[in-house]
Amino acid sequence: MTDVYLVGVGGQGIITASRMIGQAALSAGKHVLLSETHGMAQRGGSVVCTARIGDLHSPLIPDGRADVILSFELLETLRALPKASRSTLVISSSERIVPVSVSTKRLKYPSVQDVRAAVEMVTEKLVIVDAPRLALQAGVPMSSNIVMVGALAGTGALGLARKHFEAALEAVIPRKIPENLRAFSAGFDSVKGLAENL
């Protein structure tokens, strides 16, 4: 049983990413449940999705029980910490989307170091992925979400073979397949060598 808690900002393609994970699990013969935030999310609000792989009935992940937190945005990584415990693997994009509350209330947006420090108080297993840069380098600037799924696949945390993810990618986004596979590879390769330590 593996519980993945996906967080980020509306518009980042998190639902699509959760669908890719779900489809990968399904094609590997596993039972999976995905939950999503709809409607309000596109208006730039915080988005939460879950992907629960295994013989489960309910779609939500209790506090402290996420096996993986896959975060598409730095601030949301911090907001997700109640779902983490010392055994959680946190894979966070370094992307920053500054919420209007920072501007209007003159608040501080945390730095990458702030995020690292706060996460490491809960778990040592943290990987930060520069998804926007990797997406740009792969020549597919709007594919940060695919990069992040690639990174998740690369850690091996879900115990699913790469081919299942690649098949899922084609099934869920049936266009620009070569480009998207490049973005996926970029994320996959970026965590190479880290897998043993996680």
């Binding site: 900002v9 509306g10 669908r19 779900g22 399904l26 039972h31 999976v32 449940l33 995905l34 939950s35 999503e36 935030t37 709809h38 409607g39 309000m40 999310a41 596109q42 208006r43 730039g44 609000g45 915080s46 489960l56 009935h57 309910s58 779609p59 939500l60 209790p62 506090d63 402290g64 029980r65 601030l75 949301e76 911090l78 907001r79 997700a80 910490l81 109640p82 779902k83 983490a84 415990s85 010392r86 055994s87 959680t88 500054v98 919420p99 209007v100 509350s101 920072v102 501007s103 209007t104 209330k105 003159r106 608040l107 702030d114 706060a118 996460v119 108080m121 809960v122 778990t123 049936p174």
Partner: protein
Amino acid sequence: MRTVLDPAPGTRILMLGNEAIARAALEAGVGVATTYPGTPASEIGDALAQVAGRAGIYFEYSTNEMVATEVAIGAAVSGVRALVSMKHVGLNVAADALLTFAYTGTKGGFVLVTADDPSCHSSQNEQDNRYYSLLGGLPLLEPSSPQECYEMTKEGFELSERLELPVLLRTTTRVSHVRGPVVVGELRAAPGKRGFVKDPGRFVTVPAVARERHLVLLKKLAEAEELAEASRFNRMDRAGSGGKRGIVTASAAYDYAMDAAEELGLPADVLKLGFSHPLPSKKVIDFLRSHDPVLVLEELEPIIETSIRALAQRTDTRVRILGKAEGLLPRSHELDQGIVERAMAEAFGLEQRPRPAAGTPPADLPVRPPVLCAGCPHSATYFAVNKATNRKAIFASDIGCYTLGVSPPYSTADLLVCMGSSIGTAGGLAKVNEQPVIAFIGDSTFFHAGIPGLINAVHQRHRFLLVILDNRTTAMTGHQPHPGSAHGPPGSEVVPISIEDLVKGCGVKWLRVVDPYDVKLTTETVKEALRQDQLAVIIARRECALIAPRDEHGAIIKKHYIDQEACKKCRTCVDRFQCPAIFSIDNVQSIDEALCAGCGVCAQVCPYGAIKGRER
């Protein structure tokens, strides 16, 4: 899967609960499907809209849920299977039709899907629509998973035709918006036209007919209970090795119960109710007589719990029944596995095994609520209204993206209760308050519920300003069309209705149409409207930024930037106006051009001309 028609029969597909309902309806040979969009139901209508033409069924986005239900009733009494879908509060709108339809009954199967919203993720309340089955005498089906959404929808039509009664299918967010494996079956060809058989002694509910039909309904309910007793949707499940401890549960609560029991290592028998009204009394009594204690796990209202307690009393069944009355579960908000684990641990005297501590986020983490998008015309309208009124007005608001104006810096909402309430409440507010009153309503909401309110306001000589925020779509729920739209679902032909004509037809004499992107014009028009000694209406018309046509660079007009040399740091652009593309860090205001929609409103907002359009 691009559409719900794609999956081949016998395949196992990851589907949303809502998509499963749509697919099941098509497999059941539905002929007419209607809806008004609303979270968490919207995808049911959207999935059917996408394929209606190809599937040969009739689909419409109706003006509101009442009309949607009425259209479906017209088809169903003619022998054609019909499906209506809506969110929970939508059933309040449709209830007048549905409740009397239970009296006349139906010929063709009729399934009404109500998608409830425990925890009000996207709603103004979290009412528990199972009560409608009690109020109306309607069979109630409650799926716990996408696979059950599929099965119960299909069987719902059979059940409806067997009893000649409308059937209520009730989901919640954590069923409708969960994606899970569904095994699909054969699609059925859509039915052709039928012949309506006249029977006014049944279908015209004058008092004499109504009195008789109520008796018919009560008889049908007795028959429905027998069907519930025999239904495979009411079944005994086992947590672990099962045992004397009993759990009665339904809907999403069942899902949490099974996972919680697994986590606690709790052996218990679980009575899962899927066809939950009428309650299968015999099955329940048998369960009560063979288990102790019995924990009732349900979300929101103690409907099952109360029925079971009454049943135990009536049958002299002595058993400890535990539930919300003992404070084990709340009557508000959604459940989750943690809440249910604690309830079970307390009810059955179990230890919860210690778990590694959960993290906590740093204090004062900046919040990230939903906000109006970059380029949203409502931002411009609200800025102009605040400028024109100096914030000295009472704002009656309504339901849509524009409700987000309640937050600072606009704070342009003081009262909101339901779809269309802006216009009605504005009349009451204006009668008893000195301050000017401004009502905001969206285009889709106006068609849905605003017209009777507007007619009333004209007729009763209410004096306020109505601003119709016309962004040419039903935005919040996914940009569905509405009666003002030139296009309906693919393959359909529609007639767009002019809001101006409607407003004038309601008798309004003072009407202006403005483009919110013209801040000066909008501000002046609002000032002029407030000087009128009569009801005034302004249509603020500009297409939603998310669907507005874009050039290859994604900009509507041109990207903007802040000239730091000219910027006087007055912070108007972040303190009195709000755009997700404009941000302020260490009192340096700048624009993220990747997010900029190019609307140019910020350039008009800036009092110093420091915001400029970038020439490409």
